[in-house]
Symmetry: C2
Subunit: 295 residues, 2 copies
């Protein structure tokens, strides 16, 4: 859908530039516009990723607007719109339908729209790339909201031995357990406390940690050095949870991996031109393009 | 409304970047995204001008969408949407109400929207900057559509001696004549043919000349070297009309002036930060930013 250009000086948009929007509230913190625009610029692809700030009450008209703008090829959906955006596509992947949320929407050739969600697979791919095995591991998943649900579904297909779900909203934890328990997956249980004392991997999938005065999402005093602690929070990269875990000798895994490891999936889903959209290549493209020595 | 940033490498958007949209159909040919984005980049203003391609049937949802996107500060409206866009603002300038068209929409502090049109004043300012006096001149205005109407209203306030309106659609010419004839302006008449033989200035305000095989909008065989010929067409810059006029010894004035001379009005209307948004300064900013030696 997007075209290559000979050059686009300084990534300056022009009249023919195509757009990839990222929609969220708030939006100022998102990395996607700089990340993707740098990668497209480095590849000579005349596509720009632009931030779109939309409060929840206005999501539907905003998405409808983007959909009728013919040079908008795709939309990345971020917090808090991932569930509501499901209503704005013509078809959902099986995964998105099960999870009940999307984080990417693509324009098809007939101007219809397809939605899918790559948070969970990005998270699992990020663990694998960091050499953190999931096979036969016991996992504590803290948070059964949007991120927790997406990660839960990906973990259930990743060969883990068991998943324990904790959410301060017990009904939400039960709901996620029930939805994950269909099929031939691992045993799923709900737990009464975010106790990481006998799991191999503890995951924070709550928003706790975005703000410096947030309470800790799990009981760090019960951590042992054998447990790996992962966080979905991208900013700050080192959350209070990850610092506390590192102090207790645990290996940690930050939230940036989940986003970066969605890059190949996004390239495939949005059909970006070219072949190598591996995490390593895209990170190198972005770093070169954003460095002062880059163009 | 827009904020300065320390630097934005290569004009790369980020999550906090604010947006100025230009809406049209087609859109690939518009200069505004590169022009304004370069000017903002040179000034360190974290604002990006992006192209939005919307067919007429989808204008209303597209504008509604842009209006609910909180980081969209303004919208430039171009062909063929200038008339229909009037229905999408909360208030019109007196000039826009009289002309029945807008080409700029601004978000106010209370999220309401104001519209105005600067095509006519840009055109008149462009003539003045080129040293082409209008005072007591006889003008042939060919085309009573959107551009012709905007230029007609600006000419009627610019001290010309008379305006002769021609349009292949006679009713449209009469309508423009009648609307221009209110108040203390110059005499306005409709003419049966686009005959430039005894006017000081002949203006093409039709789309004729956009395509190489378009017929000429006025009777060039009746041109004398005393007549200045101006065109609203921006691309190609040298239209067949302007070439034919130059061959006959006429001074010519191309359509780019009309756009460039809207820059100070746009800066004022959209309240761009900083002071000097004169045509000369903005052109220099844009040239420096777009040259290979620029950042």
């Amino acid at each position: 859908m997007v075209s290559r250009v000979e050059s686009r000086p300084g990534n300056m948009p022009n009249g023919a530039t195509r757009l990839l929007a990222i929609v969220g509230d708030p939006i100022a913190q998102v990395r996607a516009p700089a990340f993707w625009s740098a990668a497209f610029g480095a590849r000579g692809i005349d596509l720009l990723c632009i931030p779109i700030h939309v409060p929840p009450a206005d999501l539907l008209p905003a998405l409808r607007g983007l959909q009728v703008m013919r040079n908008v090829d795709g939309i990345i959906v971020t917090v808090p719109h991932k569930t509501a955006a499901c209503r704005c596509v013509d078809r959902l992947s099986a995964r998105a339908a099960a999870i009940g949320a999307i984080n990417m929407m693509r324009r098809e050739a007939d101007d219809s729209w397809s939605g899918d969600i790559f948070d969970g697979v990005g998270f699992v791919d990020g663990l694998a790339a960091a050499g953190i095995a999931l096979d036969q591991r016991r996992v504590l998943l803290v948070g059964a909201g949007g991120a927790g649900t997406a990660i839960g579904f990906a973990l259930a297909h990743a060969g883990v031995r068991e998943i324990r779900v904790f959410d301060t909203d017990g009904d939400r934890a039960v709901s996620l357990r029930d939805r994950l328990s269909h099929g031939a997956g691992p045993p799923i249980s709900c737990v009464d406390a975010p106790d990481p004392s006998d799991v191999d991997l503890a995951i924070n999938a709550t928003p706790l940690g975005l703000r410096p005065d947030d309470r800790l999402p799990l009981d760090v005093d019960r951590l042992t050095p054998a447990t790996i602690v992962a966080d979905v929070i991208m900013k700050p990269r080192q959350t209070r949870l990850l610092r506390a875990a590192a102090e207790r000798g645990c290996r940690t895994h930050d939230g940036v991996h989940m986003m970066d490891h969605q890059a190949p999936h996004a390239a495939d889903f949005f059909r970006f031109p070219g072949h190598d959209w591996s995490v390593e290549t895209v990170r190198r493209l972005v770093e070169n393009e954003q460095s002062p020595g880059g163009r």
